[in-house]
Symmetry: C2
Subunit: 353 residues, 2 copies
Amino acid sequence: MNIRLKNLSQRLKRELLDCILVTAAANISYLVKFKSRDSYLLVSKKKSVYFTDSRYIDEARPLLKREGISAVNIHGPVFEEIARECEDLKFRRIGFEGHVMTCLEHRRLAASLKGKARLFPSGELVEELRQIKDASEIAFIKQALKITGLTLGFARKIIRPGRKELEIAAELERFIRFQGASNAAFDIIVASGPNSSYPHHAPTNRIIRKNEPVLIDIGVEYKGYKSDLTRVYFLGKINNLTQRVHKVVLQAQQLAIKEIRPGAKMAEIDGVSRGYIARQGFGKCFGHSLGHGVGLETHEGPRISTTSKGVLRPGMVFTVEPGVYLAGKFGIRLEDMVLVTKKGCVVLSVSIN
Amino acid sequence: MNIRLKNLSQRLKRELLDCILVTAAANISYLVKFKSRDSYLLVSKKKSVYFTDSRYIDEARPLLKREGISAVNIHGPVFEEIARECEDLKFRRIGFEGHVMTCLEHRRLAASLKGKARLFPSGELVEELRQIKDASEIAFIKQALKITGLTLGFARKIIRPGRKELEIAAELERFIRFQGASNAAFDIIVASGPNSSYPHHAPTNRIIRKNEPVLIDIGVEYKGYKSDLTRVYFLGKINNLTQRVHKVVLQAQQLAIKEIRPGAKMAEIDGVSRGYIARQGFGKCFGHSLGHGVGLETHEGPRISTTSKGVLRPGMVFTVEPGVYLAGKFGIRLEDMVLVTKKGCVVLSVSIN
């Protein structure tokens, strides 16, 4: 059993659970250490069992063996197979991921258990473990960022008036693969001129013009781990308002980063950026939260927002991405990724511009 | 209110519901007629209300207005906003998508309703409507297939010994965008030699060699609608076993397609291919179902499998994709998309090779 499974099974003891049925794909990937989909993982102190179907079983089996996990090829209804395994292992108290499992799945699982065991929503146990990255995870994230940096360098060369947003996205998507990324982490955002005022704009056939900002929000996947960065490039002259907003956003980001250290309250980090932007008169133009964790998922814990309850801990990796959006005019978002260290933080994307 | 919303609200009446809270992104996209994410849609006979946050609201509002839908910018906890709206509209019986909503979301929504209304799982109401494509949807799917065909033509030109699977995937991904696709529908599969024996292989750095099959499973997205096709190309000589398996799979596919017409049982269509493959001695090498619907999602209803209960109806669009996989050796899967017509079916991808 690997250390991640061990950590999880220790948490089970504390929650008085015999086992937990993990159903979130990223949580399963984390625990089994390879990218998993359409699978279910039952974790207990005694034994961990992975359920998947014929499409994946042959590829998965040797990788699972390495981590000491049994594999079951699903033939019939999956929850009946899981219930049978639980009965064999005499599990009476079964945890499940209430934030992931659908109401219908819960009903089916409960029916399959036929009253022989009880189900308990176990909270975000695996997500909490995933918030603290280990050395191998940080290395993968750094490599994903390295590829992202090379890609942004390439982007600066190919963005020019006359090209379409979608073409730029296509070239970047191709480029990342040649740099060793398995994939884009999410649909690359290329937002030119007024399109940059929509925080999650999808690239269109719009032709990029002179003297306008081009916002690129890009992430790649490397060995399952993601990156997420945003830069805004200017083509030609920048008007005064755009310059001013850019300065405000950059300063808001720098001020927040300065405060990042173990023990700092997440909501206060968000508040540093948000307060500064508000004092500069753009409070209503920054609607989203300051940042989010990045790892096996592009968006994971911790969430850095006004309503966050937690404090920062060493090993957390997250984005710091204040933005100011003037609807229909333009938007500026600057997004970097930081790693919380024992004493403060490292900006992992510091050399990327 | 558009016809899709009208159809849904008629179903609500039959289910004795005042409204339904739609939470599946593709279902919402279908009803509002634009690609939606991180949103919630409350549909009733009186009024439909769309909830989303500041990242999407400005882009969504004019599109929603066109369809006669109100927009709410989410500020606080979303289920409290939804509950408030339900209270204002005096809804007492609220349907929800039990196959989509998580146990935690259900608990939060129920708590926010404070006993003023009751929740009922409403089944796959929207998915059922989505199974029958209208003319505009079929046109989008046809265009997605046209782009896919051009891309496979390009693939045939660039696949050659010495190139890496990942490079081919990167080139194809770039190409589809230049043909007008907004995106790949899913991670393109490029599986060479023994890798083709894993039905859902992800492209690797493996270098393609002479005399081996290269399986490409590719789909694109056009105006939100997907395509999904698989072809196997041979580089050089094909050995006898590979030839034989290819013939069996092709014949299995043709036999199934011949039987596709309104009223035909889905399970029987699957059975035609499966039975033939079994009689040829490869029964254990075909583990997945024969096909799946394609539309706003790459995998949607109807599912064409041994356990399917339904019958085919005009307007359904789905894949027919038998496969034979010889673990560690090679695999052949041939996947086309068909549209059920009034009298039989049309193979939408017929001209693509």
